[in-house]
Subunit: 163 residues, 3 copies
């Protein structure tokens, strides 16, 4: 796999699809964590999400670090508090060494700015507060060698295919 562009590849079966409706005024990532815990999802793919947000924190890197891990000072945490529409939600769930599931998700949300509409996005952290009609769909996978490990370069959690 020397000339490969991949760090790892694996495949598995779809066990089931989980759909949840999320309450208003709650944290979106915490709600996804509750879905994962309640349904005992070890490995999965976030298929999407819709609905409205009332507050978002768009976490984005503005510079690559000289040494890893990436630190908060390499990032912007842009807080926006206004009506927003969740227009994309993507990511995956895979277990850490101790078996607890780790969620890696990115999202984007559209909003009115003046007379126009803009869309912002970023890494999903805590602090995104739901408004009405938020629903999320997750595909639970089985027999797929998909885990979360501390990456050698990254020095923080990332997907690792294999044991």
């Amino acid at each position: 796999m020397n000339n490969s562009l991949l760090d790892g590849i694996g495949s598995g079966q779809l066990k089931r699809i989980i759909v949840a409706k999320i309450k208003i005024n709650v944290d979106l990532l915490e709600a996804i964590e509750e879905i994962v815990k309640k349904e005992k999802i070890k490995r999965g793919i976030i298929l999407g999400g819709v609905g409205a947000l009332q507050k978002a924190i768009f976490r984005n890197m503005f510079e690559f670090p000289n040494t890893y891990p990436i630190r908060p000072e390499n990032r912007i945490y842009l807080e926006v508090e206004k009506p927003m529409e969740l227009v994309s939600l993507t990511g995956h769930i895979s277990p850490k060494k101790d078996g607890t599931p780790y969620i890696h998700a990115h999202f984007s949300a559209s909003m009115v700015e003046g007379k126009t509409v803009v869309t912002m996005g970023g890494h999903l952290i805590k602090g995104n507060i739901t408004h009405v009609r938020i629903a999320v769909a997750i595909a639970e996978l089985e027999n797929i060698p998909m885990n979360t490990r501390v990456g050698k370069l990254l020095k923080s959690y990332e997907m690792h295919i294999g044991t």
Copy 2:
């Protein structure tokens, strides 16, 4: 479920995946409605969509209403008529009380503005007109308690897990 962040959660099986190619110069939401009707999809997840648009209406709330339902005057309906690329399409299909399927979808589209590229997004309503190469994928679900009901707070249609 008192401390729960969820209004409801359920799971089911994937019955099949439907893929459709949509004609040029037609309404995107009406085309998705035709897919749902033709294939008799009661419950499903919109997995994604690609292709070009020639006109979009980006519906976004700019203020939360004092009393529900949300009304047109709480929203902006930004019309854009130029070449656009559909870059995200997410949402779900679930039946209303009378059995007819309700589609809740959000989308985003990228476009050239001056020398740069911007992406806008919003709730998918009628008025988005396709250009070339629009294709949409939907996962049909079965044995999942996913319905559309008039929400108690919202006073309009939203996903309801349960009967």
Copy 3:
């Protein structure tokens, strides 16, 4: 199918889900091509992708052509070289007449601009270079009449449902 808004519609089964972690400093589309080749995927849906990019080329049409095919002079190829987060990845894989798989994908990425965050998107071509934590999920399909053909109007590759 005269009044239909669809050029074609078909359905099939999900064979399996493939997940890959992609190396840093490689071409995103070439990596997806490697996934497709290595796993012998003929037909599939790109379910999503997350992670960081260090360079992106956002291909977008700025004018519709008078005659097809669409040409590079009808498009902008906006190059951005800075940290970005992949916030959506959507598309499909289907075989050309000679059996080789064709990948049609769109993506969007968020980034810091000044004190704010913007999201750009477009058609995925070569030239998008990965940074850390890029992972992609693909649903492989079977028994679905989904192919890639040169479109009569478009005069270049597009999805064709049927043989």
